[in-house]
Amino acid sequence: SQKIEQNSEALNIQEGKTATLTCNYTNYSPAYLQWYRQDPGRGPVFLLLIRENEKEKRKERLKVTFDTTLKQSLFHITASQPADSATYLCAPPSAGNNRKLIWGLGTSLGVNP
C-alpha cells in the first residue's frame, strides 16, 4: 500500500543556515505533493504545491523539489529564522482517490538563534 515517510527525528539547525526536510513515498506515483506547516496546538497551514512535471518550486525563502525517479520531495528553507521552528508535513493525494490527501507524520524543525 502507499506509504509516506518523513524524517522521524527532529532537525535542529542554527539561524541563518538552510534546513532540508525529506519526504519519501513508496508504492505509487502521485501527480502532485503539498507541503504544510503546523505550529503546536494549531491546524496545518498550506505552504507549497509541486506537480510531477515541475522539478522545483519556490516561494520567498522556501524551495521544494520533486524527484519522481527517487520518489522523493525535498523541502528547503534558506536563511532560516527562529520563527521557522514548526512541524512540516508533506501530503500527496491518496492513490485511487485524489479527493483525499495522505499525511506524513511530519518533521519537527527547530531553529536556534
Binding site: 501527480a31 502532485y32 503539498q34 494549531r42 491546524g43 496545518p44 497551514v45 508535513l89 501530503a91
Partner: protein
C-alpha cells in the same frame, strides 16, 4: 472572511456522553474534511464530504457520524464517547480535487 471556524475550542466529556463538534466555512468550498490528531501522531481522516448531501468514510470512522446539509456546515457527531476518542479534532475545507486544504483552529476533546 473568517475561513474555517470550529466550536467548541475545548470540551470535557464523560464516557458514554454524546456531543456534536461544529464546523463552518465561508469560502464556498465543496470539499470538507474531519481529522483527528493524537499527541505526536499524524492526521487521520475520519470523514469527508465532496458536496452537500454527500459524505464518505475516511480511515477511522468508527464511533463518529457526519452530515452535510449545506455547503457551509459539516458537523461531526460523537455517540457514546470513549477514552480512545480523546484527541484534537480538525476540520478542513478545500475548493476541490487537488486543492489546498484550509484548516480550522481545532477542538480539543478529553473523554474521562
Amino acid at each position: 472572511n473568517a475561513g474555517v471556524t470550529q466550536t467548541p475550542k475545548f470540551r470535557i466529556l464523560k464516557i458514554g456522553q454524546s456531543m456534536t463538534l461544529q464546523c463552518t466555512q465561508d469560502m464556498n468550498h465543496n470539499y470538507m474534511y474531519w481529522y483527528r490528531q493524537d499527541p505526536g501522531m499524524g492526521l487521520k481522516l475520519i470523514y469527508y464530504s465532496v458536496g452537500a448531501g454527500i459524505t464518505d468514510k475516511g480511515e477511522v470512522p468508527n464511533g463518529y457520524n457526519v452530515s452535510r446539509s449545506t455547503t457551509e456546515d459539516f458537523p461531526l457527531r460523537l455517540e457514546l464517547a470513549a477514552p480512545s476518542q480523546t484527541s484534537v479534532y480538525f476540520c478542513a475545507s478545500s475548493p476541490g480535487t487537488g486543492g489546498t486544504q484550509y484548516f480550522g483552529p481545532g477542538t480539543r476533546l478529553l473523554v474521562l
